[in-house]
């Protein structure tokens, strides 16, 4: 039941995109997201769609799998579209009772929907093709300049990678606890809000206890291996740019140049 959440999940397969340096993917995703907000016409989104389709094709992640992860945000998308559609003032297009759809409203709603969908597909593609460890490695490396301002970059990265690592573990644990309590007749699905909140106690107590126990064990294991924070710590596999990474950056910049030139034209 809980395993159906694919947002932020890693999809294991072999592809060029999977092998790219995480910094390329992080930087690329960031630039791609910014580009989505710079376009003034639909040609720009066309360019973005072509770029996105190319990356999806190269990544070997089935499109069906990506779309499955989108289900979670359909509701959010709908709210955005509905509000923009009905609440934007401008030239009237259709009017039924108190609801009016304007030309501007339709335009913004469609733009918003396209923008949000592409934004989410783009960023979930990054997490689908990058292992959490790689992702935090990339972030740590990219944020290194912030050390000058006394930002504890290594510690933040470590906290993030531990948090990410624990998500699947705790999900699986939740699944098991739920099953154990359902086997004892617990009911998580029916009743009003108060009853449902109460029904969560038999789930949350074992879950919290297990989370604390695991945190304790992990801390102990890290201590036993002499972990003392990031000072003087080296990497077994340091991130090094290779030919394909430079090529990756080139592709992103070509896309940006083309997209922004075409996308910012005024007709």
């Amino acid at each position: 039941m809980l395993r159906d959440i694919t947002l932020g999940q890693y999809y294991q397969t072999e592809s060029v995109i999977h092998r790219l340096d995480p910094r390329v993917k992080l930087g690329g995703t960031l630039l791609y997201i910014i580009s989505l907000f710079l376009f003034r016409n639909f040609l720009g989104y066309g360019a973005a769609a072509v770029f996105l389709a190319a990356v999806i094709g190269l990544s070997h992640v089935p499109f069906k799998f990506i779309v499955k992860g989108m289900k979670a945000i359909v509701f959010l998308l709908l709210i955005t579209v509905v509000f923009n559609l009905f609440l934007t003032p401008g030239t009237e297009l259709v009017s039924v009772w108190k609801l009016t759809i304007t030309v501007e409203g339709l335009r913004t709603a469609v733009t918003m929907a396209v923008r949000l969908t592409m934004l989410i597909i783009g960023s979930s593609l990054m997490t689908l093709t990058t292992t959490p460890n790689n992702l935090t490695d990339g972030m740590e490396r990219m944020m290194r300049p912030l050390k000058v301002f006394k930002v504890p970059v290594h510690e933040v990265a470590m906290i993030m990678s531990i948090a990410l690592r624990f998500i699947p573990i705790l999900l699986e644990e939740t699944d098991k606890i739920m099953k154990a309590q359902i086997a004892r007749g617990a009911d998580f699905e029916t009743g009003n809000i108060v009853k449902r909140a109460k029904a969560l106690v038999p789930l949350l107590v074992p879950l919290f206890i297990s989370a604390f126990r695991r945190a304790n064990d992990l801390a102990m294991a890290m201590e036993a291996r002499c972990y003392r924070g990031g000072e003087g710590r080296t990497k077994m596999k340091p991130l090094v740019y290779e030919k394909r990474d430079r090529l990756g950056y080139l592709c992103i910049f070509v896309y940006l140049a083309v997209g922004i030139t075409v996308g910012r034209l005024r007709f």
């Binding site: 069906k64 799998f65 086997a183 007749g185 617990a186 009911d187 038999p202 074992p206 297990s210």
Partner: protein, 287 residues
């Protein structure tokens, strides 16, 4: 009154990249009052199998009948099935949550809609049946030892008065003494109440002494399904799938190879002692 599985299949991660066939065309019949051991290596599908029997997992295809009713029928009451087929999971930490052992055991019967008096009486009865020392009834379940936690967890399911009790690795992580105690208590319970019991384990040693029938699972398939002595006669094949026959089987086979006239099919330590003594007696040798 029994459980029947008819061509049951189950697949984990169906459309993901790592789909695993966890149950592969499983057909089984569990009659009433039997004490069954389900054995298999890690990942052989034994836990998946028992979770089908109380409807926690739904088969991709195939049918499961409980007391003559198809549990996948639209108007079948899953909740009722779960009170009739009690499943105790491997880790008691996954189900203990109340402030004391006694209220935790009351959780199951209360969920059945019983009133306080009835629920508490059942809890007392269940705790007594699993041999929980009375001075621990009002202790926090988190402060108990591994064996006592296991007892509390079993009592929590037993308090629902199931007709079938399924225990998933009830001895994992216990020392040999704690293991024997729990298993003996389960056997006693089975003899006294004639309850159907399914015991999931990866250790032959665990089940050999107690069960009437052994089901060996391998890669989602039922490999052997027979009385213990028949299953153990395949001890060479069992080794190939990462299982081992009980130690007495090895000793008896070694003795036989060296010319002693022993019955290699003895499964329990008691039987082994008897046949060895018999063989020695006939030879007229005394130790």
């Amino acid at each position: 009154m029994s459980i029947i599985l008819n061509h049951v299949n189950y697949i984990y991660g169906e459309d993901g990249p790592l789909a695993v066939k966890a149950l592969d065309d499983v057909c089984l019949q569990i009659p009433d009052g039997q004490f069954v051991g389900i054995i298999g290596h890690t990942g052989s599908g034994k836990s998946t199998l028992v979770q089908h029997m109380n409807g926690l997992l739904r088969a991709a295809s195939g049918h499961i009948y409980f007391n003559g009713e198809d549990i996948y029928d639209k108007d079948f009451q899953m909740k009722k099935l779960r009170s009739k087929v009690g499943l105790v999971f491997q880790y008691p930490e996954h189900q203990l949550f109340e402030i004391d052992v006694f209220s935790d055991v009351c959780f199951g019967p209360k969920n059945l809609g019983l009133d306080r008096r009835e629920a508490e009486l059942r809890a007392f009865d269940a705790l007594r049946k699993v041999g929980m020392p009375a001075e621990l009834y009002y202790q926090s379940p988190f402060e108990l030892s591994g064996g006592q936690k296991r007892r509390a967890a079993i009592a929590g399911v037993l308090a629902m008065s199931p007709e079938v009790l399924i225990l998933d690795e009830p001895t994992a992580g216990l020392d040999p003494k704690g293991r024997d105690e729990i298993l003996r208590q389960i056997k006693e319970l089975q003899v006294r109440t004639n309850m159907t019991i399914l015991l999931v384990s990866h250790s032959m040693e665990d089940v050999a002494e107690y069960v009437d029938r052994i089901i060996v699972m391998n890669k989602g398939k039922v490999m052997y399904d027979d009385v213990p002595r028949e299953v153990f006669s395949h001890y060479k094949e069992l080794e190939k799938i990462g299982l081992a026959a009980p130690q007495v089987t090895y000793i008896l086979h070694a003795l036989k190879d060296r010319g002693f006239d022993v019955d290699v099919n003895a499964t329990t330590t008691g039987e082994a002692v008897e046949t060895v003594l018999g063989a020695l007696g006939r030879k007229g040798t005394y130790i």
